[in-house]
Symmetry: C2
Subunit: 497 residues, 2 copies
């Protein structure tokens, strides 16, 4: 191996070691950290993050990368790694070290404020720490630079090339078509899914969730599941990928589809090439593609009739009383009931996009500075009433429901909708590649799906952009028509439209 | 605050942040890490450890410390911190960075080999990785320097000033007196403690252990307990101190006294001054003093009759069948039965010192190079037969029982015996300070003990050496007579000698 490339590899793997040390401290913070440990943990994470940033943005790193950019002895994968690292370097050196530390400190503070605010159901506890984050994110957008809208700079962090212009256009295309479908559904007979809100024992739910993860190929020798306030997936390398879930004993859906959602993310991370540890080709493509993986397993597969044709009898064995008089067809309709509601993570596949758009619109305004954090509750509640026709009862069921802002993740939400659109497009191609896929799923066999994703998505790491990867896997770039067709077909059947 | 002192404080707290990030990765490795995550975790720990070492041994650190050593504006605590850090610096810069990394890599490899070797009950799996560690430890002794014996350099790491000469003398004093006592005990009627080996449900044991920890003032808001292969205590600051235990359903003693032992360590760590985080005065005095804390709670308190006068009725409620016909006096005698055995952590308070001495003798020979790792099983088994009269049946119950060597902890074991001696001396003074202490314990009240330790031990951090601290707290330096008297009195009563 080329000597400079070897030095580059060594350096970037060391930076990755620090990054993942910090990630483990964050995982621990949300799973097992005793309460008094919070304060010092915050500074520990900040220090390790800052040192990693310092190593990454060191001018020597730039020199090494520039030398390699001009080196013509690299093979195509090595070249790609170097090019992507150089792009990251150029972007990262725009952020001063003390800014990165300030952000890390603020995120730590605001995360705890968010936990507290949720506990006390009071947005005002979170408002000031959040305002600090918003001011820092505006500053970050200026540091990073943008052509048209400051929010572009932040969205670009999660999906290269994503802009306000393209996202506005996407929602303008999607939302009206969904509104029409929602109207049609509204005129049909409503589905009774009250059976999902009974008592479901915590431990039984936990075991069922673990079983689902195993069924969809989650490798428990290379990962684990734990409990946290808000479900998430985190990885420390592709051989150690961890998901979390939360269990509500009064709601069967809460844990079940969070397992499948985070499981979908985790399969992607477990499938990334370990021999590229610490280098771009060992990383995921973009958050939109990441979300396509979670939404694919959660919805296209996990809310399909074939999937439950296999799993429902097992479920009935665990909860015999609760599902006594419910047929699998009724269960299937129940878990796909379309109804405007307050909580994004519990929303059906159609109204979900309205939840996302609301957050997108609020973030856009926060970053451009036309609103401030104290405007959030009112504007949030107004949007929910106007777009979904639901009245927000309190902050916990309103603007305090998502962890993202407390983490400083602005520009992230749009990738949820875009991910769903990618998922539908990939799903269409999975069926094209194997016409027996539904039948296989109904026998509990998702091997061919897993293999297809392994080859078409996981194995490529960050080699392609979202658009390139989509084109390679499906023959065309993102086309929302696949999702619209998927939705019309699925809900047309369920609601007899 | 002095500007240079502030810079020193900031730097050392950052180094501590890295050290504790690495500690969290180690804790995770022994509690929750999925098996395939081991390989990369090893390099992650090595990188973070090396960066911390690099920052610590940077000549700029030395310059800063030298400037502060000559600064006459520091108060006495600041001065002490600087002096101790300078001693650490001088010691640490003797170890080259690549040596530290090599050690960290080797430790990671050998720890996993040890786990595997224990599982397969086969020392040969561990032998080669252990040999690598031994060679590195010999090299470390040379780097660190010593006056008389290379093993002095390693023991000095755990208790400043500890030497082969002083430890040889100590054992030469202690062991013959214990042998006499053991002989006398041997001639008495033997105690039946078979009731400890029944079935004790895992979850019930776990809850009882948690309750014991709470009773002895372990703060669960600033710590937690988990399960691991080998019990240990680890801390990431005094507000986050974690203990682990293991549960054997066929043996009640295993978990119970490991909880009290690790709990004693943990109380010390939780009691260290948080405002000195990352600085010497926020650290423990020495491992000997640390062990005095664990042995005090495990033995002087946790194997005393007053302690069980309070806890035994609770225990009988949890395990009514198992303790049905056993009086608290019989229970007390049972848990103090003196019998030569194979496992150090399960040994009684008297034969324990023989276990320690055997390890001390073997380590001494390994470091001076008169034996190698492949000699260990034979020499181990020979010592056990000669000194304790027991035949080692297999490696798992022999030379594979302790984690220490796999961690590279050579020079550690002697502090177990020395810690017990300190414990007896402190215990004598706790009684002098409060003559009602036994009566209080029998009512479940250990507050005055906890307060005494807080004031006399915990609060001082590393301000004093072991000897100084002992003298301050008890009026004299280490005197094994206190342990001998304690042992004669306790076992004289139990065995009617």
């Amino acid at each position: 191996m080329n000597k400079s490339y070897e030095a580059y590899r060594k350096l970037f793997q060391e930076i990755a070691d620090l990054k993942y040390a910090s990630a483990l401290m964050q995982w621990d913070q949300e799973t097992y950290l005793p309460p008094k440990g919070n304060e010092i943990r915050g500074r520990q994470i900040a220090t390790v993050t800052e040192i990693a940033h310092r190593m990454f943005t060191d001018p020597k790193t730039g020199d090494l990368l520039e030398e390699l950019i001009n080196n013509n002895k690299l093979n195509h994968r090595e070249r790609k790694n170097v090019e992507l690292s150089y792009l990251d370097y150029e972007k990262n050196k725009k952020l001063p070290s003390d800014f990165v530390r300030k952000m890390s400190d603020s995120v730590n503070k605001s995360f705890h404020a968010w936990v507290q605010a949720r506990k006390e159901n009071d947005f005002t506890i979170f408002q000031q720490p959040l305002q600090e984050i918003i001011i820092l994110k505006r500053q970050e957008a200026e540091y990073l630079g943008y052509e048209k809208h400051p929010y572009d700079a932040l969205m670009n962090e999660y999906d290269k090339g994503l802009t306000v212009a393209s996202t506005d256009k996407l929602f303008a295309d999607l939302i009206p078509q969904l509104s029409i479908l929602l109207n049609e559904i509204n005129q049909q007979k409503q589905i009774n899914n009250e059976f999902l809100q009974q008592h479901f024992d915590k431990d039984d739910q936990w075991r069922f969730g673990i079983d689902l993860l195993k069924q969809i190929h989650f490798d428990f020798d290379a990962g684990r599941q734990d409990i946290s306030e808000h479900p998430f997936t985190i990885n420390f390398n592709s051989q150690d990928v961890r998901v979390t879930t939360r269990i509500d004993e009064k709601d069967f859906a809460n844990m079940t589809w969070s397992c499948l959602h985070e499981g979908g993310h985790a399969l992607y991370e477990q499938g990334l090439p370990i021999n590229e540890y610490g280098l771009p080709l060992g990383e995921y493509c973009s958050l939109s593609i990441h979300e396509s993986q979670s939404r694919l397993w959660e919805n296209c597969i996990g809310r399909s009739l074939p999937f439950w044709k296999f799993h429902y009898s097992k479920l009935q064995k665990i909860f015999p009383r609760q599902f006594e008089n419910i047929s699998v067809e009724h269960f299937y309709k129940g878990i796909n009931k379309v109804i405007p509601s307050l909580i994004r993570t519990e929303a059906d596949e159609l109204t979900y996009h309205f939840h996302v758009m609301i957050r997108y619109e609020i973030e856009k305004k926060l970053i451009e500075g036309t609103i401030e954090s104290n405007d959030i509750p009112a504007i949030w509640n107004e949007y929910y009433e106007k777009l979904l026709g639901v009245k927000v009862t309190d902050d916990k069921n309103g603007c305090l429901q998502d962890v993202h802002w407390s983490h400083g993740s602005f520009g992230y939400f749009a990738t949820y909708s875009i991910g769903s659109l990618y998922a539908a497009q990939l799903w269409n191609n999975i069926h094209k590649a194997n016409s027996r896929v539904n039948s296989e799923i109904s026998f509990g066999n998702t091997d061919s799906i897993f293999r297809w994703l392994q080859n078409e998505i996981y194995a490529h790491g960050r080699y392609f952009t979202s658009e390139e990867l989509c084109k390679k896997a499906t023959g065309e770039t993102l086309n929302p028509a696949y999702f619209i067709n998927y939705a019309k077909h699925k809900y047309g059947e369920i609601y007899c439209i």
